[in-house]
């Protein structure tokens, strides 16, 4: 008991000292939005109320357990009913609950108000990464895919774990400070959830539907979160990293992204040779396919088939183009048609048909993908 009470007090202490503590590991993360702050304070308030009731009720119980013992000669009383008392302990909790419901209602309504955003970003959950499309506002047109960047060797203990182990990505989401950011969530395969604790945001990403939520960060910094809805094998490995930066830095970032996107926008009619496509394809494969089919092409049968030696990969190319473009209904094999460009698809398909033990020698050109779409 005492250990429980002591830890309870520890939470309280931590809660009150929160303004000075940067990173608390026993309480909600330090909030950086209005909503997250309201949640933080509401939780502290609830905790205090619960603790007071807890101490009152169990104070009585433990006193009674101590005093009303047979070994101390206690003789049992015979009362077993008292309507007044029963009404009192029904009505008082109702009043306390009303007091709790009031601030909660205000926050619920505020959280739902996604109107008039400065910037709208669509977050798409994929097995197992996040894609961001800047749809409206400054930065419109920026697209990025955000993959876990912690090396596999750190997971397997062959390398020391870094500070942001499992909470770091290759391409973070970047937003300006003080602006209302509306996040639209959706998913490509199964349900995911976009969650950044410090921003006070968690919203399920549901395939085939769009949901929304919003935040306005009051502080610059890097805020990290995770996918919160079980989404299969690598559910634990699709973190979210949001960089909140000044408006100038944001504008610079947008310009840089746009420049990169223009530079890499390939001519869809370009004719590639095998070696070029294989090099490109290997990168695409590592980022998009290796989670399931594994870098060595052996897959994890029977859940994820091997591509090395697969009849589909070694057979007629149309069947494989079809599979990768449209996916396979009801399986984890998603349709990659929307995520990847013609060139990327051509590259990854060419790569799989010419990697490991597969030696078809065939080259698939972006134009063929465009034709198959």
């Amino acid at each position: 008991m005492s250990s429980v009470a002591r830890t309870g007090l520890a939470i309280l202490a931590a809660a009150s000292a929160s303004s000075v503590m940067a990173e608390s590991s026993v309480n909600l993360q330090q909030p950086v939005t209005q909503i997250a702050t309201e949640i933080y304070d509401m939780h502290t308030l609830m905790l205090v109320i619960c603790l007071v009731i807890f101490i009152a009720v169990f104070g009585v119980m433990f006193w009674s357990m101590f005093a009303h013992r047979k070994s101390k000669g206690a003789v049992a009383a015979h009362f077993h009913e008292n309507t007044t008392v029963e009404i009192v302990w029904t009505v008082i909790p109702v009043l306390i609950l009303l007091g709790m419901a009031y601030p909660a209602t205000k926050t619920v309504i505020a959280m739902k108000d996604t109107s008039n955003p400065d910037i709208t970003i669509k977050a798409t959950g994929y097995q197992w990464k996040w894609g961001y499309d800047y749809l409206k506002g400054e930065g419109e047109g920026v697209k990025l895919i955000s993959n876990l960047s912690t090396p596999r060797d750190q997971l397997d203990g062959r390398e020391a774990k870094g500070d942001n182990y499992l909470l770091e990505v290759d391409q973070p989401m970047v937003v300006p400070v003080g602006k209302k950011i509306r996040i639209l969530t959706t998913a490509n395969d199964v349900i995911h959830a976009w969650w950044v604790p410090a921003l006070g945001v968690k919203q399920d990403a549901i395939p085939g539907f769009i949901r929304d939520t919003w935040f306005r960060a009051d502080k610059e910094g890097v805020f990290r979160g995770n996918c919160a809805e079980l989404c299969g094998k690598d559910h634990g490995f699709m973190p979210i990293e949001v960089h909140v930066v000044s408006e100038e830095k944001y504008a610079a970032w947008v310009a840089e992204r746009k420049g990169m996107q223009a530079a890499t926008a390939e001519d869809p009619n370009k004719v590639w040779d095998l070696a070029e496509l294989k090099t490109r394809g290997e990168q695409v494969f590592a980022a998009n396919c290796a989670a399931c089919h594994q870098a060595d092409g052996k897959g994890l049968p029977p859940a994820f088939p091997a591509l090395d030696g697969s009849a589909v990969v070694q057979g007629p190319k149309m069947a494989q183009i079809e599979t990768v473009l449209k996916g396979r209904e009801g399986t984890a094999m998603a349709a990659f048609g929307k995520q990847l460009s013609d060139t990327e698809l051509a590259a990854v398909i060419t790569y799989t048909r010419n990697a490991w033990g597969n030696h078809t020698g065939e080259v698939i050109q972006p134009a063929e993908i465009a034709a198959a779409r």
Binding site: K70, A74, T90, K112, Y165, V190, D204
Partner: protein
């Protein structure tokens, strides 16, 4: 010789012996015993899965199992514990105790009773066997959310059939309990004189009949989406993945009360016995139980605050959920008032019962915190929720089951259980339980998601602590096996009224309860 054997000794069962006796038995005591042994075996299997999970989470990094197997373990741990361990254990208690407590000779439908039990082992084989099929066991979480569950291999189909079978078993058991309680009470035992355990089970049985078909419907829709081209949960075909969650939780929330109401019943029997004072507020206990049951149908979407409901939806489910705290609070107050000015002793059952009130209430409070929609949006799918439901399911349901087992073991075996071992079992469980699950509140608050095989470094210390606690808790349960075996084999002879303050018809028959009891109904004044 036979002529000189006194009547009540002669009353062992007649009919087949050996294995066939157990397969064909229609006796409520035999069936109750089988339910309890079954559920304990499932409890140990689910426990092995839990310990494997905790071993993997002992340190950051992947050491013991790979992510896909980890997901199978968490999913099956949940299913096995809910449907294999907790629910059948309570049905076992109902089988043994309800006829004894209302003065009936057996359950109303004795043959069906046999069936309800014997459906369970095949279901368990399907569940546990699915680990060994290609693709392994179902790994979509015990909630089996679509569309992830549509992606799974054949382990999913096995889980679906297992759920169907266990559902049929539960419904048959529930119908049996309703009919027994309503029709077979001894003369003079009016509804409002009935022991609270029977009341809570009656209400639970109605819940079971209402919601098990809903679960069966949900998993059947997954099955047809998987194999027969329907699109209930596939937007591309006009369906909606969130529909699954609504249907599942319409079952799932009452299910939570299915697992806790009978526990309330057990505690309400034990506290008065050892306080030597009648239960405070009997009538309000009955009404509180009924209101919890009714409210439980109106709160399901509090599991879905992050799916993106409209604000009115969130507010409705938040208010309804908060309301449940009122009748639950009434129960706790009534128990404390029963203890107040009693003449208490703390034998093992009473220790478990007071332990239950204490830790269960922590789970109740964290439930209230989760009911507040904005807070829940931070806590949903984190370790805070894991902590919350283990406080109500382990410290709640399981501790009440142990309390009840220690309380009625003398009636079942004819011997008093070993007090010293029972107390050690209690203290070890209590301490290790809190070491395991208390830190999980902190993990969840600080942002650790549930159902992940590996985690960021700031969560390392509490995870290591939780793992140590979990192993301690797991091994402590072996003490219970020793206690039960010792108690069956021998020990201090139990009197008919095995505890000084015990009231109720079950204490009027000898210990152990003879094979047939109340063939002539007792009269209750």
């Amino acid at each position: 010789m036979a002529a000189v054997i006194p009547d009540h000794l002669h009353d062992h069962h007649h009919g087949p012996t050996g294995l066939m006796r157990w397969i064909t038995t229609t006796n409520h005591k035999d069936i109750g015993t089988m339910y309890m042994i079954f559920s304990f075996i499932m409890f140990l299997s689910g426990g092995v899965m839990a310990l494997t999970i905790r071993a993997e989470l002992f340190q950051p990094g992947l050491q013991v199992v790979q992510p896909e197997f980890f997901n199978q373990l968490t999913s099956m741990h949940g299913l096995v514990m809910v449907f294999g361990a907790i629910m059948p254990a309570f049905v076992g208690f109902a089988n043994w105790q309800i006829p004894l407590m209302i003065g009936a000779s057996d359950m109303a439908f004795a043959r069906m009773n046999n069936w309800s039990f014997w459906l369970l082992p095949p279901a368990a084989l399907l569940l546990l066997g699915s680990f060994f099929v290609p693709g392994g066991a179902m790994a979509a979480g015990w909630t089996m959310y679509a569309p992830l569950s549509v992606q799974m291999g054949m382990g999913m189909d096995m889980a679906i059939f297992a759920v169907h079978i266990m559902g049929i078993s539960s419904i048959m058991g529930a119908i049996n309990i309703v009919v027994t309680v309503l029709n077979m009470r001894a003369p003079g035992m009016t509804m409002m004189k009935m022991p609270l355990f029977c009341w809570t089970w009656l209400i639970t049985a109605y819940l079971l009949i209402a919601v098990m078909p809903v679960l069966a419907g949900a998993v059947t829709m997954v099955l047809t989406d998987r194999h027969f081209g329907t699109s209930f949960f596939n937007a591309a075909g006009g369906g909606d993945p969130v529909l699954y969650q609504h249907v599942f939780w319409f079952f799932g929330h009452p299910e939570v009360y299915i697992m806790i109401l009978p526990a309330f019943g057990i505690i309400s029997e034990i506290i008065p016995t050892f306080a030597r004072k009648p239960l405070f507020g009997y009538a309000s206990m009955v009404y509180a139980t009924a209101s919890i049951a009714i409210l439980s149908f109106t709160v399901w979407a509090h599991h879905m605050f992050t799916t993106g409901m409209p604000a009115v939806g969130q507010l409705f489910f938040m208010y309804a959920t908060m309301l449940i705290a009122v009748p639950t609070g009434v129960k706790v107050f009534n128990w404390v008032a029963t203890m107040w000015r009693g003449s208490m002793t703390f034998e093992t059952p009473m220790l478990w019962a007071t332990g239950f009130i204490f830790v269960f209430t922590i789970g109740g409070f964290t439930g209230l915190i989760c009911a507040i929609a904005p807070i829940d949006i931070q806590l949903q799918d984190t370790y805070y929720v894991v902590a919350h439901f283990h406080y109500v399911l382990v410290a709640g349901s399981l501790f009440a089951l142990f309390a009840g087992a220690y309380y009625w073991l003398p009636k079942w075996t004819g011997h008093m259980a070993d007090e010293r071992l029972g107390k050690i079992h209690f203290w070890c469980s209590m301490v290790f339980f809190n070491i395991t699950f208390f830190p999980m509140h902190f993990l969840g608050l600080a942002g650790m998601p549930r159902r992940i095989p590996d985690y960021a470094l700031q969560f390392a210390d509490f995870n290591a602590l939780a793992t140590i606690g979990a192993f301690g808790f797991g091994f402590s349960q072996l003490i219970f096996i020793v206690v039960v075996i010792k108690c069956v084999k021998g020990g201090e002879k139990a009197a008919a009224r095995s505890w000084e303050g015990a009231q109720g018809l079950e204490w009027t028959v000898p210990s152990p309860a003879p094979h047939h009891t109340f063939e002539v109904p007792p009269v209750v004044k």
